[in-house]
């Protein structure tokens, strides 16, 4: 059994003392930022990148991965206890979770969320281990035309799944693609959009863009709201759900896991979309949909399982194709490149210890989370009492240190401030930053593959539709676009997002 042999390699790597420690550190940090509203995994990973420079690559990636799935656990805690989703992927959990807490069933809700997440995490880890090798094999058959079409599909999917206006999301992607082209063109050596600024000739660093739009813009946005957060502490007891409750939640956990795993793999998907969809699905198939919003246990179980499953399966496109499906994975690409690893199908063959070590660490991390999370809830609730006016200067300090140490250059800090301003303006105009970041990451890759494909076909653009794999991918993209523009679906989509707002 090759899988078992591979997992064995992974266990050897993940079970070293230092890697267990980094895994623990990652999941703890992830839970912490999951609990705290106003700071998400993208900004946190950006902040921690400099801290990982000196680590071995495996340890760095184990820690950063832990932050993402750890955040999914932490986000539910605040959603349930204080009705504030700590993470956008926990928005729907607050709907029923908080109601359960008000009915004195906070412990049950927390336990179901943790157990559901753990189950989903195990399944998703296994799926990742099983699905990645064949997918990577497929990826070796990909030529530049296929890669280009795949990226088109990824970007279109990101639009379909984004909140709000479709055309604005498309425009944000294109803006991101253009920003991604800033710097020296690899083929001709020509500096583009650099305005003779030496720092721009090297290209914009994605950390500056991500930290500006997800870190700084977010802080400014949060300071708009006057007033402090209300935190009610409640005694949390009766953690174990009863048999009847478990029986009610189990199928929802299963459905959430399946749906989340699928949506995680999809380009443009990820934890947020997974939790929204899982909630909508539960409501749709429930015998009595009116129970939802009033403390239905399925309303906690399904989205919490789904977001954790998706957080993990979204590593599949990254590790097999080298294409990040969402902004968090884009940060992981950055982390890998800093460590000198080009993400893609070759990672599995050239660095098996890295690949399998990371996968096994995810399972270990999930185990740590389910064990640690419940006893630590009291501490997290206390942390929520820290007022935002003390929290945001700390966020700024860590962001600034992170950006500055990218290349020890203050210009990176100024650029990040600029993207903070741009991000704030765009958010004010209802333009979501996630598609922009995705476009930014994919821009140079798309151009490169487009050029190569066209060179191979001697300038004949029909190469994209005559090659079967490429044609299929483009076909799916067109279908997706048509689907979203169809009035009926459009209405459904708006409803689905509104429910969560």
């Amino acid at each position: 059994m090759e899988l078992i042999h591979n997992l064995g390699i992974g266990f050897d790597v993940a079970f070293t003392f230092s890697n267990l420690l980094y895994c623990l550190l990652g999941v703890l940090l992830g839970t912490l930022i999951g609990v705290l509203p106003g700071i998400g995994p993208v900004a946190t990973i950006a902040m921690l990148l400099p801290a990982t420079f000196t680590l071995p690559p495996v340890s760095a990636l184990i820690m950063l991965a832990g932050i993402y799935y750890g955040a999914q656990y932490g986000g539910s805690t605040t959603a349930i206890l204080v009705n504030i989703p700590g993470e956008s992927s926990s928005v729907v959990t607050a709907l029923d979770g908080y109601q359960m807490a008000r009915q004195g069933k906070a412990g049950t809700a927390l336990a179901i969320a943790a157990l559901g997440s753990f189950f989903a995490g195990c399944v998703a880890t296994f799926l990742l281990a099983a699905a990645a090798p064949p997918l990577a094999q497929l990826a070796f058959k990909f030529g530049p035309a296929e890669y280009f079409s795949l990226m088109v599909l990824g970007l279109i999917a990101a639009v379909v799944l984004a909140h709000g206006s479709v055309i604005k999301a498309v425009a944000m992607i294109v803006l991101g693609l253009v920003l991604g082209l800033v710097g020296t063109d690899v083929n001709s050596g020509m500096a583009r959009y650099s305005f003779n600024v030496p720092e721009l000739i090297d290209g914009l660093n994605f950390v500056c863009v991500a930290m500006g739009m997800f870190g700084f813009a977010e802080v400014i946005k949060n300071l708009e709201d006057t007033g402090e957060r209300q935190v009610f502490t409640k005694e949390v007891h009766n953690l174990m759900p009863s048999g009847a409750e478990l029986k009610q939640a189990a199928p929802a956990i299963l459905r959430g896991t399946v749906l989340g795993s699928l949506l995680g793999i999809l380009p443009g998907g990820g934890a947020v979309l997974a939790s929204f969809s899982a909630y909508t699905l539960e409501k749709k198939i429930a015998k009595d949909p009116s129970r939802f919003g009033k403390g239905a246990i399925e309303g906690v179980a399904a989205p919490e399982s789904a977001n954790n499953a998706a957080a993990q399966t979204s590593f599949i496109p990254l590790l097999t194709l080298g294409i990040p499906p969402n902004p968090v994975m884009a940060m992981m690409v950055g982390a890998m490149i800093i460590q000198g690893i080009q993400p893609g199908p070759q990672v599995m063959n050239e660095r098996p210890e890295l690949f399998w070590g990371m996968i096994v660490s995810m399972w270990i991390g999930n185990l740590m989370l389910v064990i640690l999370n419940l006893p630590l809830i009291g501490m997290w609730v206390k942390l929520l009492r820290v007022p935002y006016r003390l929290l945001y200067p700390a966020i700024l300090v860590f962001c600034c240190i992170g950006v500055y140490s990218l290349s020890n250059n203050p210009v990176d800090v100024y650029l990040t401030a600029f993207f903070g301003l741009l991000g704030y303006v765009l958010v004010k105009l209802d333009c979501e930053p996630a598609p922009l970041l995705l476009g930014f990451i994919l821009g140079p890759m798309m151009e490169e593959n487009l050029r190569r494909a066209m060179l191979l076909s001697r300038g004949d653009p029909s190469t994209f539709v005559t090659r079967p794999l490429s044609a299929t991918l483009l076909g799916i993209s067109v279908l997706l676009l048509l689907l979203i523009l169809a009035p009926a679906i459009r209405k459904k989509r708006e409803e689905a997002f509104q429910e969560a707002d």
């Binding site: 604005k168 001709s188 990040t416 903070g420």
Partner: protein
């Protein structure tokens, strides 16, 4: 008289349109090449035109579809937060990490709703101490801790 019905879309569209035009204007100087041998100008030019067209459509649609008004910009946090970040960038290399962090915390605190000197100073000192210990001594990031004119 045509009425503007969705101000947020209107401004967003104008922003995209302006960036698209500017980017296309700059890209016209880059060699285009041909479809088979694309020059450095090909992809940027096509994308800029696409961005401009999308911007124009969004702007045009803002006259036909109703949408929300643009909320007031929170100028106070916007100004102080961005200023504090720039100050950090200016000070980090010359005056060292400790003073840069203190300045960042104090200036950014002006952007908040409450400003208490005691609290801000304590937060600044704690963050500076923590960062110096963790990032400079722990992770060995190459920051000067103190002003270079003192330590040399």
């Amino acid at each position: 008289m045509i009425k503007l019905r969705s101000p947020r879309d209107f401004w967003a569209g104008l922003l995209f349109l302006a960036v698209g035009i500017a980017a296309a204007w700059i890209a016209r100087d880059y060699p285009m090449g041909t479809g088979g041998r694309m020059g450095p100008g090909y992809f940027p030019f096509v994308l800029s035109i696409l961005l401009g067209v999308l911007g124009a459509i969004i702007t045009a649609m803002s006259f036909t579809v109703d949408g929300p008004k643009v909320d007031r910009f929170a100028l106070r946090p916007l100004f102080w937060i961005l200023l504090s970040i720039v100050i950090f960038g200016l000070l980090a290399k010359t005056l060292g990490l400790a003073i840069a962090i203190l300045a960042l915390v104090i200036v950014s605190a002006y952007g908040g709703h409450e400003f208490k000197w005691g609290e801000v100073l304590i937060a600044g000192f704690v963050l500076a101490l923590f960062s110096v210990l963790v990032f400079v001594y722990g992770l060995k990031l190459p920051f000067p801790v103190w002003p270079t004119f003192i330590t040399g």
